[in-house]
């Protein structure tokens, strides 16, 4: 896969905001002293007057975004997932979710692929937190193409949206003319009849790689990309539960409350089937290069392959 183009989805976020800013005067971007890292700095360069740096005060930033949304603006409030979803959870719930304000939260540096900054900055809980908020839409795009499409879809959706982006460069897998982003629709990237791997975000490309490895062992794995975790595509999951023997969910997030739990909720309710959750197993991460951490915590292609084989 060495020739595959790689772009971090946070970079896609910054670029997509610029495009959106050119199309719509009402787009405003907020940050909390992380513009260089969240990549909203790209937007700031072109639209300095529409980029609001709130300083290191994420709770206040969410409130300001709420006020902006109530007066005709479409704010994208940006920070690391840890602070946007974690620190400001109650502001997101009460100031944004409850009144159903048209606020978009651009959360970068999600998961352990944050790397060297370590456990305090590696947010493996944000999907779980955001899922519990009524009215919240959650999108975790897999690559550059999907991330840009997700930002546009978030703008068009009226209501709160949580966008989850990563720090690590991700292989571009959706770069084809047929690609179309549909909010709430899962995508079957690889057909298969034995098992199904349901992945989200950075893990999607690893899941595809793992499926190739499994194929060599005679295991025909279906791969589904769930970019919208809420509302989740129930049909594609039920179909997989019916047609394949076991579902493996893969996410760069705790196995508690994230994609895996969302998939379990669907199959428990609609078509009980065995599910094995691959993700952070109720523990914190640590410092280290992202690629090494993904390997250590069995969240790279090899790790997925190994866990599928062990838990067939």
């Amino acid at each position: 896969m060495s020739e595959v183009k790689k772009i971090a989805t946070r970079e896609s976020y910054g670029n997509a905001l610029v495009e959106l800013g050119r199309e719509h005067d009402n787009v405003v971007v907020l940050d909390a002293d992380l513009a260089a890292a969240t990549k909203t700095g790209i937007f700031k360069k072109e639209f300095p007057e529409r980029h609001i740096d709130c300083g290191i005060a994420e709770c206040n930033m969410i409130g300001i975004a709420g006020g902006l949304s109530l007066t005709g603006k479409v704010p994208f409030a940006s920070s690391f997932a840890m602070f946007a979803a974690g620190r400001a959870f109650e502001q997101v719930r009460n100031t944004v979710g409850y009144p159903k304000l048209n606020v978009k939260i651009g959360a970068t540096h999600a998961g352990i692929s944050v790397g060297e900054d370590g456990a305090t900055h590696q947010c493996n809980e944000d999907i779980a937190l955001m899922r519990t908020i009524p009215n919240m839409v959650i999108i975790n795009p897999a690559d550059d193409v999907e991330a840009k499409a997700a930002v546009k879809a978030a703008y068009e959706h009226v209501g709160p949206v949580y966008l989850r982006f990563g720090r690590l460069a991700a292989p571009v897998i959706n770069d084809n003319p047929e690609y179309k982003f549909e909010l709430g629709k899962g995508v079957t990237l690889r057909e298969g009849k034995d098992i199904t791997i349901v992945a989200t975000g950075l893990e999607v490309s690893f899941a595809l790689e793992a499926a190739e490895m499994l194929a060599k062992d005679g295991i025909d794995a279906r791969v589904i990309n769930i970019h919208t975790i809420k509302p989740i595509d129930q049909d594609i999951i039920v179909k997989a539960a019916k047609e394949t023997k076991k579902i493996f969910t893969v996410e760069e997030h705790s196995i508690i409350g994230g994609l895996g739990s969302a998939v379990c909720d669907v199959v428990c309710d609609k078509h009980p089937a065995p599910v094995y959750k691959i993700g952070m197993r109720d523990r914190f991460g640590e410092s280290g290069p992202a690629v090494e951490l993904l390997h250590k915590y069995e969240l790279d292609a090899e790790g997925i392959y190994k866990q599928v084989k062990e838990n067939m």
């Binding site: 005060a57 709770c59 969410i62 300001i64 709420g66 006020g67 603006k73 159903k100």
Partner: protein, 278 residues
Amino acid sequence: MNKLELQKKANQLRKHIVTSLHAAKCGHPGGSLSAADIITYLYFEEMNVDPKNPKKEDRDRFVLSKGHVAPALYSALAMKGYFPEEELLKLRKTGQMLQGHPDMKGTPGVDMSAGSLGQGISVAVGMALSAKLSNENYRVYTLLGDGEIQEGQVWEASMFAGHRKLDNLVVIVDNNNLQIDGSVADVCSPYPIADKFKAFNFHVIEIDGHDFDAIEAAFNEARATKGMPTAIIAKTIKGKGVSFMENQASWHGAAPNDEQYAVAMEDLEKEAAALCQK
């Protein structure tokens, strides 16, 4: 509206507060009554709002950051004609419009849902910033409790408002000196309040929050102040107007029973009669 008319409106507002809380059998009378005069002035004198067009774009905005005193806001909205006064008797009842804390989705005239302390001020700051970004002239008002300013978010919002010189923003602190667990000075002192807002680059005005002359002068001064937001620190009496509730922390979050309600209404009727003599 002249001072006497405002006093009469405030008296009426207090009767609605007490009546709605008596009907609800729970809620927050103390802070509702301490804020009654300020809310009366905002809705009957200061703000550019239109009950017939609650969402008109150039309206002034009000965010009740101390959302638990919703009965005061609801009473003002009902008296202005945003919805029938009978709604006040359904406060806090299942399936009804008037929630325990303001819900903008269900109640005409409520500019923002609030109730979790410290959050409303940030939204007000966002609204004021928005007006500056698009060169609009509306003004934004937010009312905070003196206990509420123990929340750190209040100071995040204040730092930002001062930094951005939001002179279309007025932060009012209902300084009734009491919170649930006792005197604010004993629980975790926010004093000196004025100096704190000054340090955050606010123009600060300290007034008696029950004196309509002082309230009028303060809002006029705020309007005339350019290049910085204004904080009005309004010294008030918790439970103001109801003899047995005044300055009692225990009346922060308790509704009057039938007997207490009768005494409260008697107090307020006496005040109304005295105002009619003027």
